[in-house]
Symmetry: C2
Subunit: 279 residues, 2 copies
């Protein structure tokens, strides 16, 4: 273990488990040979999740894995579960229902163990529901493939491992820009981060980097000049002026404090190449 906080890896769901497994490799390379806990807490039928991820990680050399599952909230006091995390190098939250993760683990000794793991340099990863649960506020329910209606959104507090953000997943695939705009309209203090399938952000030191096949969309409502979110007619379509949007893809980095993308490494040479190509 290092003496600095570990990485948080939030994945948009459906990450590659049979090919190159780039995203799972990003988790694996941060384990330093230590044990990975597969937390299947988000699902009421965890068996298949565990089997699939055990196989996917075994294929890239991660064989020291154990499952964390919870039936009830009282299971979080179980010393066996706590010692599982105390001896781990990382934890990976599989998909399902993000409310199951936080309603079972929120404000428990087990949640404290997750924070301790992060604080001592361990990697905390999660996909789909497991990604949403990492953010300060989670989107729990809201329609996709339509523009946002004010009443059509349910949010809940997440584990808060990544403060000041709200993460949505399966983002482009399920047409979720509307609900993420609706979410940040409620309180522009939170930055909205929409992660596509087979794509992830790796958060370290209040910066993140994008990896994977799709995009990460950031919506920032800080400069919004008008919104009708407080009008309280539930079927009213959202109106919100002057949102800043960043479309990010593999290699892009983003500063969560400044709320700005970082200049891309090698951008100058890329521009040089463009100039040459178009001349």
């Amino acid at each position: 273990m290092t003496d600095r906080t570990g990485a948080l890896i939030a994945i948009g769901g459906h990450e590659d488990k049979e090919g190159d497994r780039q995203i799972l490799r990003a988790v694996a390379e941060r384990l330093g040979g230590g044990r990975l806990i597969l937390a299947t807490v988000a699902s009421e039928e965890p068996g298949e999740y565990f089997a699939a991820y055990r196989a996917a990680f075994a294929g890239i050399g991660v064989v020291d894995v154990a499952e964390l599952y919870l039936d009830e909230r009282e299971d979080t006091s179980n010393p066996a579960n706590r010692s599982l995390l105390a001896g781990a190098a990382g934890i990976f939250f599989t998909g399902g229902d993000q409310l199951r993760i936080v309603s079972l683990m929120g404000d428990t000794p087990l949640e404290a163990e997750v924070r301790a793991l992060h604080a001592r340099g361990g990697v905390i990863a999660g996909t789909s529901a497991g990604a949403s649960a990492q953010s300060e506020t989670m989107l729990v329910r809201g329609s996709g493939a339509e523009s946002h209606r004010i009443g059509d959104l349910h949010m809940a507090p997440g584990l808060g491992l990544i403060p000041d953000v709200i993460i949505d997943q399966h983002f482009a695939e399920r047409g979720r820009i509307g609900r993420l705009l609706g979410a940040v309209a409620h309180n522009p203090r939170l930055l909205g981060i929409g992660i596509d399938e087979d794509s992830a952000i790796i958060v370290e030191d209040r910066r993140f980097r994008v990896i994977g096949a799709g995009a990460v969309t950031v919506v920032d409502a800080e400069k919004v000049s008008h919104s009708n979110i407080a009008e309280a007619k539930p079927d009213r379509v959202l109106s919100m002026h002057n949102v800043i949007l960043h479309a990010l893809s593999a290699g892009d980095q983003f500063d969560l404090e400044e709320r700005l993308p970082l200049a891309r490494a090698g951008e100058e040479s890329a521009e040089g190449a463009q100039g040459a190509a178009s001349s």
Copy 2:
């Protein structure tokens, strides 16, 4: 007819044809009792379109309608077609393929008649393909429900009735934010306007107003600080930093010259009401 340019009405498709018909009424009330031409040019099977719109308009009192259809480009020189438009108070382009509209009508005497109709105060409306065709540049093909890949987009010149914009339709329903971002990345001079189904913009004097049940999304790439659109690897996911996005809904107005939403009428009193509600 008035002595000022008429309205352009671009509709996102699937507008209500049986209920209140708010959008079709907006067309009807601009006819001043004159004749409406139903231009079914976008479809190779125009019969059903014509029947559906004739019935929908008849139900709101518009009975003086005629069909404009073109099999071939040479039909645009047909004096009967030209006189149809010369005597009309408005034209409504139904859905289908926007390329059919512009490839048949572009740079023809009939297109000149459409412009003349607009110039003398007539209303030019279009839904779906008929909306796209009004803009300076049309999106012709590009995937929905995924983030934009640089090579996955085809554009073509539109009729240019609304300059400096690119209009997309069925916007939220088909998850088209990615392809619209891709389109404006090519040249930020064009403002991207995504119109949901059963929603429309009414353009008058370089301003538009939103009507209908859904939203209109405006994406403005003028302030973009980085984009990889010119990298020319077709499967590369788009990266574009600092896009401005406006989510607009019924009643919102937008200034196409300033590229800014206009302050909402009654906003002050609405804010007063919010203050009261939350106190």
